[in-house]
Structures are given as structure tokens and as C-alpha cells.
Symmetry: D2
Subunit: 313 residues, 4 copies
């Protein structure tokens, strides 16, 4: 049975695992991400791979990274939150590890993981939306991962949803991820708590009592306790999440949209307002079938499992 | 050499042609569209096909229609501007003509025509945007026409570009085609001519002297004569066209975007403001390659040629 | 004690009353509005005035009309929903009735009525927002009705709140009254009922079972029964109402905003989401006092009472 | 003849002058603004006043400050760009100088200056829009300065023009001053220069060659040399300036709008696109008179002159 290693490089943690052909993780390990130091990040990956290989025989390594990867799946053009610019990551890791290495965008890897072994099983035309600090995404079209003409497809978080809207680190105004992400959730919650503190009592008590002290985890917890401000903050990002997914339906007409990422752990708190907005915003609703929304099954591991599987292809 | 018939059903005209394997039209014919009468429309198609077959031996028929076609390419779910609702168009035409018939969305057919025989030759990942009264579109991904999970992909004109924006016949607010189409061009021109008649002298003289009398053709002609209002009307739809194409780059990362349709006959009047906005709106510009914009080569025939070719596949 | 007649000309009804100096209505009468017929409308007013004068001695007549009135309070420049264009309404009515007549915009009249005898008593700097089919408004600044330089101030319903938004009969896109009025309430309710009929069961049962059969009254009734679609429709217009009022605070800094008109009869169903959005949207919230929101006291009669009182000044 | 001192406290400079009853400045002086140090700022003002009084006999002092001033014209509630929070500025300066002191918002002071001695002479209903780094504004209604119910009227730069738009230091999203100010001009120019450097050659040469090196002065200079990027940057802020002024017409119906501030020194470069957008965006255009747009006459001194004159009232 063929084993591969999947690595998921996030902004704060590098997660790795030995994965079998059925998507099961046989062994896991983690490292901190030295985000601003390219060489240190590579050393951490190699070190992690060594730990994982110690007692498993692996054939290849798949790496999911939060950056734009070229069409040969080896060079990272650009990573908004890491120090990579035209980084020959694939080649360098392959040399350091002595194994073939495939680099993949992390949103793509997660989409593939859910398609093969998660909520997207059985769907040949699938969009996966990973709602974390920002929005990651991946497309499985006709049963294959779709990477675009230059390898940069599925940067759906950077569709403009508000003309002249909130500035995005990508250089544009009004990107979807400024409205439907964990960052937006916290921004909404702080604004509401500052203007209507009476509606945010539970929410404020979870932190240091000030709007600035509110974190994403607080918002989820307070929303579970029916805090009006926290529920309103979820309603707002849900509304935008639903609208953006309807836009993706207009372009791609998938059979299924999988919603993953840390914010999706809030479950129906996020999904209910998202679905309400989504159904209202589908073009031609009432005259057509359209994609079902599903929560991801591998919220935290989809990228790792997907990267491991993509290393086989 | 194998010949097929391509038929393009528009809101006012049905155009048909006998097309060879190189995309050359050997014979053409036209009929008026009896838009509200389903049976009459089918009779007109059959009649047109008979005329075309008279002196050419054809194997199959491809029909491009402005509607949502199911995944088996035979049923029209819904056509915003025609009377079809769950219409078994493919079967009925096949029976009436005694030949295999393939139905395709007209935007898809045009994309395929440009991919095979026009401005999209050589591009395996291509978006075609047809700017007419509304916006049609088609996707060629990985060298194949991408039809989506239910056959309704590439309704890109119905992405929302303005939250709470102009109502669209599709039932939504703020669809792209309300801002970047021939209809938008005329609306802009009338508004400007009504508020600033001194800027619209040429434009107003081309019609009956009133803003309401302005047509799309007038706007193109007046813009060619440097009428400030007409140029401003083109600048405005160009701005929106560029923004929407940049959104499609974020999702699909094609290598090429082909702009066709009647409004594209204005050439640089449309393309220049569109390109200016497009380049500003590309996510991550400066750190990545992105799709080249090209004017269609078969502005009027792309749908016909594409439908004919798709009938072969 | 001096009595005057107040007349309020609406789109469907003309209401008149004999009003004393304390704003009490001593006698009332109504007529239907022959909206498209200028002469018939004037005859209906004269007839109504005759009925009211029969047993009360009145000094002057004040007329509130849904149009733009010139600075001498006698000419109607333009009435979006009536047939008046540069109509010498004041002079004609004065001649026909043999009494001095003052014409006033109906939103202004309602603002004055609430300032003198209603929810705005005691506030010298007051905005009154009348939420009916559209949005009317009036300004009392420094204790006096503010009519603007040309007599057309307080067309607040025509501030743009959505760039490129819903077309308004005034000729612009995205006016406030397209988002925060009775018309918007019904539009929202129909859209939601069509996309998510399961959330609109009560709402749909109140009419003929179709989204198109939903009226404003149905939405209020269903919202009182906790119908999710109806509540969502109110939440949406409340959100826009609150935002627009915060914009007026930025410009005018009133001490009080009175919300009247037919839709305000829904009370907290409207006021609660409006207040929530309003408090979030106040510029510099936390560092400043800002206007209190109040429901009108003379929801249906404010215009009549106000017009009667303005006829005294 | 009665003389007063006017002081205008800006973010970087404090300007003061001895002003006569006709608005003539008899003597001027300047100090740097120690922006973050309240006591030092007050000392600088006192020092400046002493210099100005040395050879002129003055009766009172008027101070224009970029903050929200209470209704008794003595306390600064809040100043976004200075260190004042509920500062008893009037009392403290009066004590230190031994003269009566009146504090006024700087936008109000500028409006009054233009009304009395500048482009707004003769207009009793006037809006003054000061386009600098942000947008200041002032209202003269019925011939008197309108200060609002709490003294904070005319914060027009904080009307929301884009729902969900660019964050503003005031705590809101999408404020007018984020789109129609000097800051917006520079942001637009940098974005365009980065995406389309070929259109920004003159503009880039004026600075260090990078988009980040572009300043507001560069944009004005390059626009005067027909640099396409600089012209586009002006066109964009002009468009928003015009829209916002049309919104103010809907609310206030002034007879005149005066445009001042540093950015207005660009003259027609700003005014032409602003006027074009303004005329299109007037509600009910064609059926009504509306305010004329005028450039300020005292671009740099309107606040000083106005504050001096307000100290007389």
C-alpha cells in the first residue's frame, strides 16, 4: 500500500501527516511556522518530514501552501502572508528530502481532500470554500483539480463583492474575503459591541471587557449563548458568504459547495445565514437545480490529506 | 470532409450555416425569431435547416440557444427572453429533421467557436464574454467546453457586481449584465444626455433629439465622433466590464479572455476603458501572469460556428 | 380661537380637517385622489374644503402635497406621482375657495405637525422621516421649518445610498427610498418568499399563496406572527432606514428624529432593526451626543395638522 | 473699527491673523502644530495671539479647530487628528489671553468666511465643502451658520457613500471623505500607477519612481501635464465629490456650493469631473433649480477669516 506525506503550511503552524490511499492519517506531527524566514520555514518542513518518515516508508511529499503556485506545481510565485516570492520551493525541498515533492495551493489541497475523502465525495464538480482568517478556495471540475491557465485559479476570496469596498492586502478594494472571513467576523463583532454594548454583554465578558479584546473564538462562544451582537456578526458574514457562493454558482454551476476552515466549526451559526442568503441570490432560482451546501468533514485536516493525495497523481 | 449545420437562435434572428471542419461557413441562411411562439420557432428552425441541407450533405445539427440547457444537451430548462420552459428542444428537432441534434447555450457555443477557429485559438483555458443586449459567456477549461454540474455554467453575466444594485430579469439585484452590456450603454448615454445635453449634441442629433430616442448604434457612432456623453457612456460600461473580467480571473485564471458580441464591434472604444479597469482590478497584479484580452474574430458568427463544431463532438 | 383647514393630498386619498391652534382636529373629511387629472384633483379639494367650512369659520387653508413646492409656497414644480408640472396650485385654490392658501410639501407638513403637536415637541432641531410607499421627510432647524434655497429641501429619500443601485422614478440610481420604504418591504418579502417558501408560510397564506400576491399589510401581519421571511424583510428595510438616518445625523446633527408614515405603524418591528443599524452607523459614536429616535404620534394626521398650522404662519 | 483675531488650527500648522470687519487680514503669523501635546498646542496659540496683538488692538479671538465643538462654542468634544477629548479649550485660552474666545469647527469657520467675504457672498443657503486630506464642511442656512442640535452639524464627510466601503478613522465604513479627498486622490493615483505604469510616466517621474512615492502635489502637477493616470485619479475623486454634493442638494437644497481646501487649488481638474457627476446625480434634474458650484475665493484663509468674523457675533 502506497503511503505519502501531506504537509499543510499555515500562517502559524506547519502540520504534516503520513497518509494512506484511503485518506487515513497514520501519523501526525506539527511545527511552528517561522513566517518571515524562508530558510527556517524550509528547515522546519524538512525536520517535520524526517520525523514522519522515521517509521513509515513514503513515496512522495505533497505540500499545501498559502500562496500562488505555478503550473508545474513547484514554484511559489507569491504568498501574501509568508516571505516567499518566486520561491523554488519544490526543487529545494525535493533535494533536501531526497523525495519527489509536489507543491499545491492550500485551498486547492483542501478541496481535493474533501472531494476524495470528505463531504465532496461523489461530486465531480465541486467548489470548496475554506473560511479562516481569510477565504481559501479550490475547484474540482469534471472530477479533476482545476488549477487554471497559470496555476492560480480559485482565488475566489479576491472576487470583488463591494465596489470601492474594504482594502485587501492583495491590493484591491472590496474583496470577498474582507466580508466573509474570520477577520470580518471579528471586525463586525467589535463594531457592534462598541456601538451597542448592551447587546454584547456575553461577548464582552469573554474577553477583557473592551471591543478591541474580542477574538473570533469569543464570537463563536457568545453566539452559542445567543449573544445578540455575536449572532449579528455571524449573520453579517453569513450573508456575504451566501452571496459569494451564489456568484460562484453563476460562473461554475457546481453540484456541491463544501464549506470548511476554522470559522466553519461554528456550524449552523454560520451555515444558516449563509444558506438563507445563498438561496435568495441564486440566479434563476426556481427554474434550475443548484449546488447543495455542505460542511466540510475534515475541517482541520483537509489540506494535509489533499496534499498527500495530490502527491500521488 | 464532414459537414455540420450550426444554428444560432437570437432574440430577433435565427442564423444558420453549413460549416466544415475548419470552421468555414459554406452556406448561410436566416429567419426572423417568432420569440413568443415555441412551435413557430421550431418550425422556423426546421425550415432553415431544410434550406441549408438542400445542396450539402450534413451529418448533425448544433443549435446555440439563449437559455439554460441541461447536462445531456437536449432540454432547455429556461430561456429568459424566449418562451421555453423545460422544452425538449433537442428531441423534437431531431425528430423533425431526421438528424442528430445537439443543443448548447449560445454563450458556450460562441466560446467554443472562438476557441477552435477564432481569437482563442491556442488557449486551453479561455473565457469568452459576449457583450450584446446582455452578457453571454462561455468557458473552455483544459481545452474542453466546461458546462458545469447541471449544464448551466458560465452564466457570468449574473454574478452580482453591485450589492443592492439594478434589478435583473433573472430575479436578482446588481447582476454584471446590468452594468456592462448594450442595455447599460444606452441607459448611461440617456442619463448623461438628459443631465448634460451640451455634452451630447452629436449623440442627440443622431436620434430624434431626445434622450429617449438614443439607441446603442447612436452611442457607438457618436463616440467615434468624440461626443463626450457617448465616450462617457462607453467608459462606464468599460469600467464594469474590466472589473467583472478581473473577478473571473480571480476564480478561473484563464490564459485568455475573448470579448465578442455586438457591442464589441466598437473596438477600442470599449476595449480601452475595459482594459484600464481590468489591469487595475487584477488580484495580486505585479506578482503574477494574467489573461490577455482579445477582441473576438467572429463577432457575429462565433455562436453558429461553435454550435456546428460542438455537434461533431 | 383661530381655525384653519389642513389638507393632505396622497396618491390615493385626499384627507382634510378643521384644526385649532392646539392641533386638535375638530372635523374631518376625505375624498379619493383622481391622480392623473389635475382639474379633477383641484375640484375634489374645493369640494372637501366646502364640506369642512360648512359649520366652522376658517381663516386660511394649508395644503400638503407630495411634490416640490417653490419658495413662495404656491407653485408645485413637480410631483412624481401626480400630474402636476409647474402648477399654480396655490393661486387656483385660493381663487376657487376665496381664502388664502399655502402649499407645502407633505413631508415638510408632517415634520411641522410632529414638531408642534407630536413626538417632536420640544426639539428645535428635528428631522421627520415619513416611511410610506416611498420616503418623505421634513426638517425643523432652529425651531423653524427649513425649506431650502429654492423650496425643495428635505428630499432625503433621494440621497444615494447604493452607488449604481435600484433605479428611482426621480431619474437616479440607488435612492434611499428604494431601500427603506414600504415598496422595499414588499420587494424584499416577495424575493425571500420566492427563494425560501418554507420561511414564508404565514406570509404566503395571508395572500393568494404566491410571492406576487404579498402586500405590505401582509408583511406586517406575518411579522407580528414571527414569520421568518416577514421579519427578514423588516430587518432589511430597518437596516437601511438606520443607515440613512445616521447619514442625516452626520449632515444635520438634530436632537431628535421622528419616524412616521404607514410603515411605522409596525412599531418595534421596524424600529428595532433601524435603531440597531443607526447606532452602529453614527459617525464618532462614543465621543458625542446624537439624536434620539421616536415614533411619530400622528402617524396618519401629521401632514394634515402640520399643513393647517403652517397656514397660520 | 473693530478688529478680531482669527486662528485656524490645522494638523501641521497654526495660522493666525488680525482681521477687520471687511474680512481683510491686517497681519498674519504662523506656528507649527505640536499635534499630540495639548498643553504645547495651547501655548503655541497663546504665543501666536501675543505676536498678533502686539501692534493691533483686538476685541475677541475666534478659533477654528478640526474637531467637534459643543453648542456653547467652547468645549472640543473630540478631534480625530489632535489630542483633544472634552477639552475646555475656550475657557483656557480666554484665561491665558485675557480676551473672550469663541471656538468653532474649522469647516464651519471656512463656510462662514466664504459666505461673508468670498465665493458665497449673497447666498443665504450655502454649503461649503473643504477638500483637503479629508473633507470638512459647513452650512450657512437662512443666512446664519447652522451648528446643529449638539453643535456637531456639517460632518458631511462622514455620510456613507459606499455601503461596506473603505474604513474611516471615525469608526465607520464607506465615508464620503474616503472617496473624495486628497487622501483618496493619492490612493487612486498609486493604484493606477502600480497597475498601468505606462499611463503614469510623468507622475512617477515627479517622485522617486515608485507608486508609493507619489504625493498629492505630484498628482496635481502631472494632471496639469495631461498624465493619464493623474487625470484618472482626479476623475475618480471628482465623480465622488459630485455625487456627494448632489446628496447634499437632496437634503438641503442650497443655492450655492463652495468648494475649497487644498485639493481645490487644482481648479478645473477637480471641478470638471465633479460638475459632470453632480449634474447627472441631482434628484429630479430637469424639473427644478439647483445649487451652483463655485470654487472658494479664500482657499487657504477662509477658516481664519471666518473664525475671526464669528468671534464678533
Amino acid at each position: 500500500m502506497s503511503l505519502t506525506i501531506g504537509v499543510d503550511i499555515g500562517g502559524t503552524k506547519i502540520a504534516g501527516g503520513v497518509v494512506d490511499e484511503k485518506g487515513h492519517i497514520l501519523k501526525e506531527a506539527r511545527r511552528d511556522t517561522p513566517a518571515t524566514d524562508v530558510a527556517a520555514t524550509e528547515r522546519a518542513i524538512v525536520d517535520l518530514v524526517d520525523e514522519l518518515r522515521a517509521d513509515h516508508d513514503v513515496a512522495t511529499i505533497g505540500v499545501g501552501a498559502a500562496g500562488w503556485v505555478n503550473e508545474t506545481r513547484s514554484v511559489v510565485y507569491f504568498a501574501p502572508n509568508l516571505a516567499w516570492r518566486d520561491e523554488q520551493l519544490g526543487e529545494e525541498l525535493a533535494e533536501a528530502c531526497g523525495l519527489p515533492v509536489v507543491i499545491e495551493n492550500d485551498g486547492n489541497a483542501a478541496a481535493w481532500g474533501e472531494h476524495r475523502f470528505g463531504a465532496g465525495r461523489g461530486s465531480q464538480d465541486l467548489v470548496c470554500v475554506t473560511v479562516g482568517t481569510g477565504i481559501g478556495s479550490g475547484l474540482v471540475l469534471g472530477g479533476a483539480l482545476y488549477r487554471g491557465g497559470f496555476g492560480i485559479a480559485a482565488e475566489c476570496g479576491h472576487m470583488q463583492v463591494v465596489p470601492g469596498g474594504i482594502p485587501c492586502p492583495c491590493g484591491n478594494l472590496g474583496c470577498w474575503e474582507q466580508y466573509a472571513s474570520g477577520r470580518a467576523l471579528v471586525r463586525n463583532a467589535r463594531t457592534i459591541a462598541s456601538a451597542r454594548p448592551g447587546d454584547a454583554q456575553t461577548l464582552l465578558e469573554l474577553g477583557d471587557g473592551t471591543p478591541e479584546g474580542i477574538t473570533g473564538l469569543h464570537v463563536t462562544q457568545a453566539a452559542q449563548d445567543d449573544d445578540p451582537a455575536a449572532l449579528a456578526a455571524f449573520a453579517e458574514i453569513g450573508r456575504w458568504l451566501g452571496q459569494g457562493m451564489a456568484d460562484l454558482v453563476a460562473v461554475l454551476d457546481p453540484t456541491c459547495i463544501v464549506i470548511g476552515g476554522g470559522v466553519s466549526e461554528a456550524g449552523e451559526l454560520l451555515l444558516e445565514p449563509a444558506r438563507a442568503a445563498y438561496e435568495v441570490a441564486i440566479t434563476g432560482r426556481g427554474h434550475r437545480p443548484f449546488a447543495e451546501l455542505r460542511l466540510a468533514e475534515h475541517t482541520n485536516d483537509a489540506g494535509l490529506i489533499g496534499a498527500a493525495d495530490l502527491a500521488r497523481l
